[in-house]
């Protein structure tokens, strides 16, 4: 078994209303110095050792994200 992390983020040129809302709220909560916030999704998958990187890429690209508006990163992590 392996632990795989997939992070999915809105593409840089795409509007990120959630990230903007967070960034806009921080100063009101008294936190200064945060210039920009972007919010995406974080997936943690437990996969059999038989699942190869290529398959993981397909899962991330075809299902966990929509490449039209999102970028993704896949990485295997030690548990």
């Amino acid at each position: 078994m392996a632990r795989v992390v997939v992070d999915v983020m809105p593409k840089p040129e795409i509007l990120d209303p959630q990230g903007q809302a967070v960034a806009g709220a921080l100063p009101r909560l008294g936190f200064h110095g945060v210039r920009d916030v972007r919010q995406g999704k974080h997936f943690e998958l437990d996969v059999d050792d038989s699942v190869d990187d290529d398959t993981l890429d397909k899962i991330a690209e075809g299902f966990l994200s929509n490449p039209v508006i999102e970028d993704f990163v896949v990485r295997r992590v030690d548990q």
């Binding site: 209303p17 959630q18 809302a21 967070v22 709220a25 009101r28 909560l29």
Partner: protein, 225 residues
Amino acid sequence: MRIGAVTFPGTLDDVDTVRAIERAGAEAVALWHGDADLRGVDAVVLPGGFSYGDYLRAGAIARFAPVMEPVIDAARKGMPVLGICNGFQILCEAGLLPGALVRNHKLRFVCRDQWLRVESTTTAWTTRYEPGAEILVPVKSGEGAYMADERELDTLEGEGRVVFRYVEDNPNGSRRDIAGVSDGSGRIVGLMPHPEHATDPLTGPTDDGLGIFLSAMDNVKQGAA
């Protein structure tokens, strides 16, 4: 008798809350998120909607609005406070009520008429109902599943603080079918369904929701007497 209804940016059911308060015979007072003053109201309702778009988590940003300081303050001193839907989420985020509300188990927004059982008739907002009464009101939310750990849930049950429970069909996967809870004093109540949309059979399924607002009025009067 003055009952306030707070409008945050993105609050939607404030107009309906005001209408319900007036139908119950009280004076509705509009409160603005940016004000640090409750304008002398006797009770406060945090209405439903999508404050700040529900971005981050429902209620997470509104909970820090200036008006929440006097609300929290007044609540701690015993003023009746009701949170409906987004208002319930805000009260949980603010720590005035235990637990949290998460994504519906089917991952979809649900709008439908829902039967509820009134489990506690001793809170400031439910004295007008018969114990065990079943009422039909709309539920409409996407993040309505009530979550708390088992110990907390046992405490709530043990102390009679589960105020409303879904009957028949749980719309969102709430733990133990919980639709609404109260704080220890029974003066702060939050629920996901919308009693303010059940005050006139023309525009809602019933007028079962009026009892909530009438209860608060009784309660404030008694407190004054």
